[in-house]
Amino acid sequence: MRQVDVAVVGGGPAGIAAAIASAEIGASTILIDEHANIGGQLRWRIGLTLKDTGGLDVEPGPGLVVADALAGRLSQFDNLTILTGTVAWGLFDDNVIGISNDSEADEIKPDSVILATGSTDIALPFPGWTLPGVMTARAAQTFMHVHRVLPGRTWVILGDGEEADELQGDLERAGVDVIARSANPDDIRASGTNRLTHVEIGADVYEADALAIALGRQPDAELALHAQAKSAFVSDLGGFTVHRDESGRTSEPGVFIAGDAAGIGSLGEVIAEGRLAGLSAAGASATSLDAARKTLEEISSDRRKNAIANLWTIGTGV
């Protein structure tokens, strides 16, 4: 069992911002990420550009460049430990976190834990969605951009929002064809014997070997649910969302949540939030908290602000 001041789960933009903020003010900090490299969504959503830095000291630019710069920043702190390739699989009493990698398991006992576990793609079922060849947008992005393999050559996209546009751009960059798009999971059907070969949209039939579900992202806050933090369904924030204040404080003492895990947001928003949560969890001075709060206030969309402000008044909670 390792004892630390602050443990951050998730090494995407929000988690990195939180870990840097916490380490900067001297708290012993541990950052846990299940991937081989930190950076989170910046590593698979390679079309993203960071415009607002959310109070983080980094040059705006293409997501991948920012991810490398941030990894560099993180390595400069003596009081910050980074555990990559490590899954945080449970959150227990007294905020004990169960972690494991391929070969061993351990526990971390932090004073505060910041959950920055990001998002999972939204999926809605349609006939044939279990066939090999049907996958989430994130699977497609991860295999193309991180693992450098094409899951298919002829694609249909389910979705008509920003995420679908983003994926279409990714597929075109990879040199494969997007032959159709459908906005509606009630009007699409995938078929094939052992893997996807055809997609029907309404009365039209397409030959395709891949179908991506790009309906957007939902907060993935499973560890907060282990701790029985209150949550509710908030469509403006992407789905089931944990109750929390602007600093990321949940209903459970010492449990903070930030970034997409706390409600789907822009890069600037999630970074600013991560930073504020990091400072709050590590017990920063009122002055630095005020500054971080102001940055967040300036960056946040009204929609996000309202949704978060209303969180405590909706849902049945526990």
Binding site: T130, A139, H145, P151
Partner: protein
């Protein structure tokens, strides 16, 4: 089951050049066996990526229906990519790296320890 498994490996799904990511770095190649067939993989890549690069999209057959499944979430969140690896059941192939000499098998149904779960 008829699938692409026993056809000639189709290595053309590897992305060698990418406008944003540049050229694919060279990697050590390792030998893996998939349902008895010898294939090559980039050292350290996830099993499912190595399979995909070799034209294989099917990982498991479901316990109830026997239907095929392949990569769905791609990030260790579902369980569609489970395979049996060096006799270990229920390995999530989308997040487990290959190593030289690895023996991978299509998994039929559930592994024993999952069966015992409530």
């Amino acid at each position: 089951m008829s699938d692409s498994r026993h056809s000639e490996p189709d290595q053309s799904r590897r992305i060698h050049e990418h406008p944003l990511l540049g050229e694919l770095e060279t990697a050590d190649m390792v030998n893996i066996t998939v349902d008895g067939q010898q294939l090559q993989a980039r050292s350290g890549e996830p099993i499912a990526a190595a399979l995909m690069a070799n034209g294989i999209d099917i990982c498991r057959a479901m316990p109830e229906s026997g239907e095929s499944r392949g990569v769905f979430c791609g990030v260790g969140r579902c369980s569609d990519c489970l395979m049996t690896v060096d006799a270990v059941l229920n390995v999530r192939t989308c997040v487990t790296p290959v190593y030289d000499g690895m023996r991978i098998e299509t998994q039929h149904g559930l592994g024993t320890w999952l069966d015992g779960q409530p």
